[in-house]
């Protein structure tokens, strides 16, 4: 019974006003081939009828659905909310709807998911690929959000610079021994983050990388990371490539009776939702997904527009295009919280320090 969808059409407006539907279409599209007064009258009755153009009719005629597909390696990814939200917002601002496709972490399913989107005639696709997966050439423009070091990447956070920001920050606090915690050595994103960290080691510093997947392959899934031993070895900075691993490290350290940030510092990545509410709160690095999404969508829209313009009306392009943007990487921002409190210095200086308030 709502007014929101009376389902009026161009034809109704046209017959009501005694004009042709073409004129109504032109008037509403502001194509200027209609006299000002008639255009006004048309707009007025369209508004009073609550007219909403049929995307379907338009799509059939123009060959464009105004819908984009969003493909993620694994929707269960804790970063997914941020990504989906940013993409949806940017897409919606650009006049596109967003159809989601999940591949449940399965690479084969990723192709299937993309095909489902294509069968629905999406105008373009945003892919956040799984660990360096190549995106097969599909018949639509594709924007890839992965990492600047990935070939074909359209735009992404500057993970390398994010890693640098972390180590710069910790080095300034006096840290010299860094344990860098990653999950999977095949991930471009993780490698960039860790590469950036390594690139900023202070002169007398040292770093070691702990790949959780390898560790678990030996010790079993969920096995402790042995961080207490690492502390004994002199590591004072534990830098994870994700807040999730940082949280795992933090709770393992605390469980082993090691005080954070008094004895060691812990940092993560991505500013996941829990990072600000835990005690001590987690120092992390945040990507600017809003900007990334806007750049990706802009690149995609541009490709879609030129695609349809360039071709004779009937023809439909079948060449999949990896879309490019002028700005290929967006800086990440360090978010300093308690786990890298000012009190965390190198071990030998620790006994000089006053008691910490954060316990």
């Amino acid at each position: 019974m709502s007014v929101s969808r009376p389902g009026s059409s161009l034809n109704e407006i046209a017959t009501l006003l005694g004009v042709s539907s073409a004129t109504v279409s032109n008037a509403l599209a502001g194509k200027g081939r209609v006299s000002a007064e008639l255009a006004d009258k048309i707009r007025a009755t369209a508004a009073s009828l609550g007219y909403t153009p049929s995307m379907t009719g338009r799509a059939l005629r123009t060959g464009r659905t105004q819908v984009l597909g969003l493909v993620l390696p694994n929707i269960a990814n804790p970063l997914f909310p941020q990504i989906a939200q940013a993409i949806e917002q940017a897409a919606s601002k650009a006049g596109y709807g967003v159809l989601i496709a999940d591949s449940h972490g399965d690479i084969a399913a990723q192709t299937a998911a993309i095909n489902r989107l294509i069968e629905r005639s999406v105008d373009g696709i945003v892919v956040v690929p799984r660990r360096g997966t190549r995106v097969a050439d599909i018949g639509r423009p594709v924007a890839v959000i992965d990492s600047p070091s990935t070939p074909g990447n359209t735009v992404s956070a500057d993970h390398w610079q994010g890693g640098q920001a972390v180590v710069d920050h910790l080095a300034e606090l006096g840290h010299r021994s860094f344990l860098l915690i990653g999950n999977n050595p095949d991930s471009n994103v993780q490698n960039d983050r860790i590469g950036g960290m390594k690139s900023r080691l202070p002169a007398n510093g040292r770093a070691e990388v702990l790949w959780i997947e390898n560790h678990e392959k030996n010790k079993g899934k969920g096995a402790p990371l042995g961080l207490k031993d690492k502390v004994a070895e002199g590591f004072t900075a534990f830098c994870a490539v994700s807040d999730l691993h940082a949280l795992r490290a933090l709770t393992e350290l605390q469980g082993a009776g090691i005080a954070v940030p008094e004895q060691v510092s812990v940092t993560g990545f991505d500013d996941l939702v829990f990072s600000s509410v835990i005690t001590p709160s987690l120092t992390t690095v945040r990507m600017d997904m809003g900007t990334i999404a806007e750049i990706a969508i802009a690149a995609l829209s541009r490709a879609i527009e030129t695609e349809t313009k360039a071709l004779p009306e009937q023809l439909r392009t079948t060449s999949g295009t990896l879309v490019t943007a002028e700005q290929k990487s967006v800086p990440m921002a360090l978010v300093v919280r308690q786990t890298s409190g000012r009190r965390a210095l190198t071990p030998q200086k620790m006994d000089l320090l006053p008691e910490g308030e954060h316990r």
Copy 2:
């Protein structure tokens, strides 16, 4: 250059075979008005051409887009991945695509988001409403996933029973004093969970509710919850309505030098991604989103089908329907992990216990 979208149409197949497009359509739809051999021939050439029906053409003709909208209060919600994944999977199995709409936690924006979906002619909508928000009557079938106590709820987890499972479990471990931790007293889901917990207090038990939002209104955002004092008051079980709050409580307790699970137990809800990787791992309650999503989608499809069947071809219904399902609630499953280890008993018994392995 890929084969995936050659863009062949019914007409091409028809002219190629010298039959009418109507016959091709019927053959491919298996409507049986076509001789078996012709049907076979048609299917074969369709396959060899890589024919994919145009959803757009079909939509324009049938009035059904085979697309559902998914509206969430706030995509940033940590539960969103689970929900979106389950809905997408169930929808896809039922032949629907899923268009996402985010309202950024803003109630006004929720209406705007729904309207955007309607303008795209979705066949139906799945809404996970924000804290007891009523869903306005829109011109499409709507499935609501909230809580069984919400009027108009289609299907949801049985949050009440989940709360019962938590307290049953803890009572069996010997707990008598429960601090129930919620965020917002206006949330149906949270109230159900807490109500269920209260309903199973052991005979000599006591419970107190801590609403974080109220607490922060007084003490400031992010202020400590004062759990150390609660331990001093004799509380041994800290039961949060979400893993996020459980994590907050857990880290606050550990930071205050209180051992979990040796001295107190902590439980959460929803089995968020971090819950299994922290130390000690978090006891929680999981909803069966797969089943919930399937029930919701089934109810929606049924409504969509009867809707289009019931009406004369040209007419489009404008009555929004809150869709109902036979099974309105799905049981939740307790996931026992370390934070409610067997060692957690009432304080007076504690000194009798052997040392815990989990520190």
